[in-house]
Amino acid sequence: MKKIVIVLALLLLFAAPLIVSAPFFVHLMIMVLMWTVLGASWNILGGFTGQVSFGHATFLGAGAYTTMILYLKLGIAPWYGIPIGGLVAALIALPIGFICFRLRGPYFALSTLAVAEIIRLVALNWESLTNGPVGLLITTLPDVTFGEKSIDWENKIPFYYIIAIITLGSIVATYIMSRTRLGAYSLAIREDIDSAEAIGINTVQARVAALSLSAFFAGVAGGFYAMYLRYIDPDAVFSIPLSVEMVFIAVVGGLTTVAGPLIGAIVLVAFGEIFREIFLVHFKLVGHLIFYGLMMMIVIRYLPEGIWGRLRPRVGNQR
């Protein structure tokens, strides 16, 4: 049963753009998958270790800027730049982790917020590297050929497959993590950090490892973001609302679950984008995030284990 569900989900993931190929829907699916990766990234830290970070935009921004700068200044193609962006984000996470994990609970959350703001201000003002508030723009992506055909980057479908593979990677990584020692350590830390420390878990090391893994995926998603939208500026990739959106997707979907971020992203991003269309087209208004806030309040009040967290036991102990 479980295997059939997984195979069907995979088929659906890779066949989706063949079924519906209208650009708006492909764009919608790309956004959903990108936010799934970001939600999964946040879930690795926030769900498993229980450390609430309000600064994950730092890692998204680090990945986005790395990919962009490598391509613009050194001519390294984004498909190398994206994983490198992830690695850079994971490296940045190390010092941040060693500093911020000296604090606990809400204090940790506030410290990540402060770090994210400092890094945003650095990106805004380090003009020789980041081009400051003007941002970075790529006009063309390098040619890639498969036999005779070269990939048409004006079409959205190649991007869909790239993000589908990244999403799969993030979900598999979450699953593997939940099965390894790091996952067990993380859960112990989430339940009771003092007891975890007492039974000999190096809680700082475990939390930094989880943060670093989490940052890697946020960085990869950031690299993809830069390549897909072809334009980034500090407020677009380092801002507080981005960090908050990641938290919401992970929490609404269901913390500590493997499929939760996907569910959270489908609910929030799909509905959010549809609301955005309705508000913009019919009323010329911007404010679709009102839906995010409302969902978050409802979920924390009535479904603290998240949508997938609540549904999961009913569909036969799926992860």
Partner: protein, 288 residues
């Protein structure tokens, strides 16, 4: 020397308003252990209140504070009674996430109603700054400073002299003991939350003529608020006042002597250093 004095003076003027916002946040944390991410949005609400007063009712923004403080108080009662009350027992992190949701909701509601345009309030009597002893003092900021001091003193008197104030302080020190002594903790919580909301809103009204207003201004303000209350020690009222003044002065000195673009970063760096080395706050009165 003159620039030094000038930046200290402007720092104290802005700092007095930061202090007011911080006091609101810190009393709410002290009594209910709520880290209220929506606090900045209450300030934003006050700013738009001032804007509405002058555009539609033709009331001077500083006068309109008499109208907005009670309105914000009732909004605070409503938010606590119907939204937050059931969340608080679920723990600090859940309330943190919940108020983050609330913050996004309020900011976007205002965005839908008022659109994202930047607005300013222009006062006829505030075109030229005052120049006592050759130091430039913008008139709106000077009036706001005076009123902030008045309101803060009134609050201090309320906390020290009245029974409700004593109940708030007692609950914040030891909720269970306070309940045993006959303090109605539930009612105290509602009053405290409403009081904190009213303070934030009042600060917003006072700040409005000196800042640009837009629906997401709360994000920046709430981040600054956290810096202030952590500097002073979470839960401590005198700490928040000192923290607010300190942040105001540090920002304005930083803008002159370090660099304008990084002036906002200085506050956050100090914030991190304090969190790491003295989490009970600079004055050692907060509880961590």
């Amino acid at each position: 020397m003159e620039t030094f004095v000038q930046s200290i003076v402007s720092g104290i003027l802005t700092g007095s308003l930061y202090a007011m916002i911080g006091v609101g946040l810190t009393v709410i944390f002290g009594v209910m252990r709520i880290i209220n991410m929506a606090h900045g949005d209450m300030v934003m609400f006050g700013m738009y209140g001032a804007f509405l007063s002058i555009t539609f009712l033709k009331i001077d923004p500083f006068l309109s504070i008499i109208l907005w403080i009670p309105i914000a108080f009732f909004i605070g009662v409503f938010i606590y009674r119907f939204l937050l009350k059931n969340i608080v027992p679920a723990g600090e992190l859940n309330t943190l996430l919940y108020t983050a949701g609330l913050s996004l909701f309020i900011a976007n509601l205002v965005l839908l109603i008022a659109t994202g345009d930047y607005r300013t309030i222009k006062l006829k009597y505030a075109i030229m700054p005052l120049r006592p002893f050759g130091i430039a003092v913008p008139i709106p900021l000077a009036i706001a400073f005076g009123m902030a001091i008045l309101i803060t003193f009134a609050l201090y008197w309320f906390m020290v002299r009245t029974d409700t104030g004593r109940a708030i302080r007692a609950t914040s020190q030891e909720p269970e003991a306070a309940a045993l002594m006959g303090v109605n903790v539930d009612r105290t919580a509602i009053i405290t939350f409403a009081l904190g909301t009213a303070l934030a809103c009042a600060a917003g009204v006072l700040l409005a003529p000196s800042l640009y207003l837009y629906p997401t201004v709360g994000e920046i303000l709430v981040a600054k608020c956290f810096v202030i209350v952590v500097l002073g020690g979470l839960g401590s009222v005198p700490g928040a006042i000192a923290g607010g003044l300190l942040l105001g002065v540090v920002e304005s000195l930083g803008a002159v002597y370090v660099s304008v673009p990084y002036k906002d970063a200085i506050g956050f760096v100090i914030f991190l250093l304090v969190l790491l080395f003295k989490p009970s706050g600079l004055f050692g009165v907060g509880k961590s």
